[in-house]
Structures are given as structure tokens and as C-alpha cells.
């Protein structure tokens, strides 16, 4: 793991407010696990701290990140041109633990899909995606996954697929799912994860979630990125080192 210089190859809009950036690293990352992230130093001194982003894709020194513009850092990121230099610290954190045989349900809320993309690419036909978003336009975030996998979509405004939250959609279909042979991987806003925890409360299904928190170092140095756990002995765990992937029962949502 290293702080690697990279050159922007492409930085294009997926749909209003969402971008996909591809960076060519001057040095290989080595092995990358789905769910791992990088700390990106955004050039031009617009923001002080680095920003964490899931590894959307990684292949032979080509790293990509899918991101949503939510504040000054992601705003600045969206204006980077081809050939600009960035620094990428990674791969960081613990990724998803995959079992070799079981089938998987991937649940993504909005830009949460960025955290599951690499996993989806690896699991392929073994997985099905439940994707929830605000409106039809964000369905574009599914990108190359649309051709490759089984996907169920929900939108809050009903403009595409099921009308409602993705967890409601899953709940409606829960009977049809042989969950003893399945595991769940989820990434999305906290209310989504909370709702998910509620509906799977009764059934014994393994569920890993990728969570977010503000970070400073990404390396376990500052203890700035903790999540509240269910463990009274260790009520706060560092997301960047003990996470960002946790068992859903480990975290207090």
C-alpha cells in the first residue's frame, strides 16, 4: 500500500451530479479487494483533507471512481481535466468477505452502487442487484452492470421500476428468496441500512455493509472515522481499518 501518483485519463459525467473518473497510476496497487477504498488528494488546493472513495474498478494500473457531487471536494474533483496529476493512497480498509459458493444479493442506494461495483463484477451471475434511487435518471449509475446482471430497480418517484425504497422492494420479494443459501452485501445511506437491518432482523442471513464517515487519514492514525458498534467494550471502531465493511450486526445503526 502506497501513496501513488496518478494521471487523470478521463473524468466524465454519468448523469447530472454523478461522475466517473479514471486515473492511470504510475505504480501498481497490487491486489485490490471489492469494498476497499482510496484516499484521494484533490489537486489545486481547493480542499484541505483527502477524500475517501470506494474503488469502483481497478485493472492494471487503471483505477476508476464513481462519485456524486455533494460538496466542495467532489465539486472540485468534477472539474479535473485529462492529464492532471492526483495522489491516491490505497488500497485501504477491509473489503467484503466472499464465500465461494453462496449466492449474493447486492443492495445499493444511489451512489452506494460505487461501493458494490467491483464486487458485482466479480460475482457476476452469482449475484442479483437491488438498486434504489430517487428517479429514473439515476438508473444510469448502473452503467455496465445493466447488461451483465439481474437487476431490480426501485425509484422514490416511481419513474422507473418499483415505486418506493429499495428495502421495501426487497421485503416484498423476500419470500421468494432462499436466504439460507444467500448472503447480502449493502451500501447506501444510513436510513437504507437501518431499514435493511429491520427487515432481516428475524432471518438468519449473513449481511455485510459498507458504511461511510468523515475521515482525515484513512490509515488508522487519527481515530477520526469511527462508527458506533454494538460492542460495549469497544463502542467505537475505525472505519478505515476495521471497516469500511462491517457485519450489519456489528454496527449500531
Amino acid at each position: 500500500m502506497d501513496d501513488v501518483q496518478g494521471i487523470v485519463v478521463e473524468n466524465s459525467r454519468v448523469v447530472t451530479g454523478y461522475y466517473l473518473i479514471t486515473i492511470r497510476l504510475v505504480k501498481s496497487f497490487g491486489k485490490v479487494l471489492p469494498g476497499q477504498f482510496v484516499m484521494l488528494r484533490i489537486p489545486r488546493n481547493t480542499v484541505f483533507l483527502r477524500r475517501p472513495f470506494s474503488i469502483y474498478n481497478y485493472k492494471t494500473r487503471l483505477l476508476s471512481i464513481m462519485y456524486k457531487v455533494v460538496g466542495i471536494g467532489t465539486e472540485a474533483l468534477s472539474t479535473l481535466h485529462r492529464d492532471e496529476k492526483v495522489y491516491v493512497l490505497g488500497p485501504l480498509g477491509r473489503g467484503f468477505k466472499k464465500s465461494a459458493r453462496r449466492k449474493a444479493i447486492l443492495i445499493a442506494g444511489g451512489i452506494g452502487i460505487a461501493g458494490l461495483h467491483l464486487l458485482a463484477k466479480e460475482l457476476r451471475q452469482r449475484a442479483v442487484i437491488y438498486f434504489g434511487c430517487e428517479s429514473k435518471k439515476e438508473v444510469a449509475l448502473l452503467y455496465d452492470l445493466r447488461e451483465e446482471m439481474n437487476i431490480y430497480v426501485s425509484t422514490m418517484d416511481g419513474t422507473y421500476g418499483y415505486k418506493g425504497t429499495v428495502v421495501d422492494l426487497l421485503k416484498n420479494r423476500l419470500e421468494t428468496i432462499p436466504y439460507n443459501k444467500m448472503e447480502i452485501y449493502a451500501c447506501g445511506p444510513e436510513p437504507m441500512l437501518k431499514a435493511l437491518k429491520n427487515i432481516i432482523g428475524d432471518i438468519r442471513i449473513s449481511c455485510q455493509i459498507l458504511v461511510e464517515e468523515r475521515m482525515a487519514c484513512g490509515l488508522g492514525l487519527c481515530f477520526g472515522c469511527v462508527k458506533k458498534t454494538m460492542d460495549e467494550k469497544e463502542p467505537y471502531k475505525r472505519l478505515c481499518t476495521e471497516g469500511p465493511v462491517f457485519d450489519i450486526w456489528e454496527i449500531s445503526l
Binding site: M1, D2, D3, F48, L49, A216, L219, C225, V226, Y236
Partner: protein, 309 residues
């Protein structure tokens, strides 16, 4: 600005600190390099002149709920809330690593009462690798309505004296910048027996969230924005107390480090810079060395305090 030096070997980074030989004057700032092992994915812990521990307390401490970090222009605010595993666990689980690596350690510690400080100091056994105890005096004194220990000269004198009485290890007082006159506080600590100073800790500040996630975020401000305040503290205290000063606050490159040496620091600590560039510490060490060669400076001591001449 520099004194002339003779024909000695240039760029010797080693310093003498509290009677010990230290191979270079660069340390991490407490709380910004985890328990030490985390950074070894990037560079060897032996790179450091001294490793400064995360703030330790008698018992483990859970810290504050998230969010714990906040971004400002050229600085950050943290409200980690002193999460730590406790002194006992540190010495059983983490200290052996430093022993193995022969890396000197400064043990940063805190308490919420005078008694807790004293108890901490008692718990820490002398060891050849333990250079000093660093008292974090920015902590709230819960017996005095939560006002930080480091704000009143009288209180500082008392607490330093009590800690000194129970330990043979040299004691460094780490002061808060939120005071009327840091020289007055430093004098009190010195009279209480402090063997050295770390200047400065974070500045207590506040931020508001227009997006409501947490309306008011309180914490300690660190990073480049703090540097002029820290430099003033080092410069002002240097002539007034005859013990070594470790400079900290906003040091981001070797040039900042040189500023602190010339203002009067014997050594420096690097905190927030590591979050922006995790190689800041090795780069600063190399930068100091190159600077010394370029300007024909043989030891750090030759430039310590030279801005006063």
C-alpha cells in the same frame, strides 16, 4: 540569520534531548500516528527520532461519537475525545514493538483530575527507551467546572509538581494556546519542575454545520493555520525558560521545521501534515538534512534559537 559553523561534519541530525541521544529531531505529534504500527505499511517506525504515544489514561477511554473530524481552510478540527486503550494495555500490547525496534518513546498522558494525572505517572515504569512523559494540559479539570488545567499558572504549577514527585522520568508539559500569556504558564510549569515543553496543542474552536448534521461542532484546531500562533509560543517561551522546547503546530514541510528551530525549538512534532501526505515525516527529515548541508549547518543545536541573536 545563522551562526557560522566550523569545518565539522554538516547535516548531523542527532540531538541531545533530556540527557538522551536522539537520532533526529522529528517526532509525530500525539494522537496523529495511531499506536505506531499503523504507519509501518508506509515507512519504518525507526524513521522517527521519537515516537509520541496517543494520549493515554489510567483506564481505556471510548472517546466521542462521530463525526469527529471537520475540515477548515488550511486546517482541521478534531473531537476524537481522547479515545485510547489505557496505559496498561499500551504497555502490554504496543510498547514491545518499540522495544523491538529500539525506537525511543515519549508517553503522552492525561486525566480529568490532578489525582488521575498523578496516578498515570505512577503507572509508567522508567525504561531506557522512555525519554519523557508528556503531560497534555489541555484537558478539562472536572473538579473546576471543566476548565482546562493548562489555563491557570497556579494550577499548572501544582499539577506539574505533583506529577514530578512520583516519577523519575523527565516530564514535559504540553501547553494549550488558549491562554492570556503562554510565557506565564510556561514559567509556572518550569517552577513546578517541568523538564521541557511541547508547544502547542490544538486551539479550541467551533464550527457550524449549515446542513444540520450536527449543528455545532466543537474541537481542537490544527494544521497550517495554527503555525504562526505556535511559532510565537516557541519564540516567546524560549528566552524565559532554560529547558528544551519541542515545537508543534502546523508544521507541513522542512521549512516550517527550520522556522521552529530558529525560533528556539530543540525538536519538532508533525501532526496534521501526515493526514495530507503520509510521507510528511520522512520528507521533513530529509528536507532538514539537505537544508543543513546547503547552509553548512553541522547540528540542529547550532541554529536552535538563532532568531533571537
Amino acid at each position: 540569520m545563522y551562526r557560522r559553523t566550523g569545518f565539522r561534519h554538516m547535516g548531523n541530525l542527532s540531538i541531545k534531548l533530556l540527557g538522551k541521544d536522539i537520532k533526529n529531531p522529528v517526532m509525530n505529534a500525539s494522537g496523529t500516528l495511531g499506536y505506531g504500527k499503523e504507519i509501518t505499511r508506509l515507512w519504518n517506525i525507526e524513521t522517527l527520532g521519537v515516537y509520541v504515544t496517543k494520549g493515554l489514561s489510567i483506564k481505556p477511554h471510548h472517546g466521542n461519537p462521530p463525526p469527529r473530524v471537520w475540515e477548515e481552510k488550511q486546517g482541521m478540527i478534531n473531537s476524537i475525545g481522547l479515545q485510547n486503550v489505557g496505559i496498561e494495555c499500551f504497555f502490554s500490547e504496543y510498547f514491545p514493538f518499540f522495544k523491538k525496534k529500539k525506537t525511543p518513546v515519549i508517553v503522552n498522558f492525561f486525566g480529568f483530575t490532578e489525582e488521575e494525572y498523578v496516578a498515570c505517572a505512577r503507572m509508567i515504569e522508567p525504561h531506557p527507551l522512555i525519554i519523557a512523559l508528556e503531560m497534555n494540559l489541555s484537558c478539562p479539570n472536572i473538579k473546576k467546572g471543566g476548565i482546562s488545567f493548562g489555563k491557570e499558572a497556579g494550577g499548572v504549577y501544582d499539577i506539574v509538581r505533583k506529577v514530578k514527585a512520583v516519577t523519575e522520568i523527565p516530564v514535559i508539559a504540553k501547553l494549550t494556546p488558549e491562554v492570556k500569556d503562554i510565557v506565564e504558564i510556561a514559567r509556572a510549569a518550569y517552577e513546578g519542575g517541568a523538564d521541557g515543553f511541547t508547544l502547542i496543542n490544538t486551539m479550541p474552536v467551533l464550527a457550524l454545520d449549515r446542513e444540520k448534521r450536527l449543528p455545532v461542532f466543537r474541537g481542537g484546531f490544527s494544521g497550517p493555520a495554527l503555525k504562526p500562533i505556535a511559532l510565537k509560543a516557541v519564540y516567546s517561551v524560549y528566552k524565559e525558560v532554560p529547558v528544551p522546547i519541542i515545537g508543534a503546530g502546523g508544521i507541513i514541510d522542512y521549512k516550517d521545521a527550520i522556522d521552529f528551530f530558529t525560533a528556539g525549538a530543540t525538536a519538532i512534532q508533525v501532526g496534521t501534515a501526515t493526514f495530507i501526505d503520509p510521507y510528511s515525516i520522512p520528507k521533513i527529515i530529509q528536507g532538514i538534512k539537505d537544508h543543513m548541508k546547503e547552509y553548512r549547518i553541522s547540528t540542529i543545536e547550532d541554529i536552535t534559537g538563532c532568531a533571537h541573536e
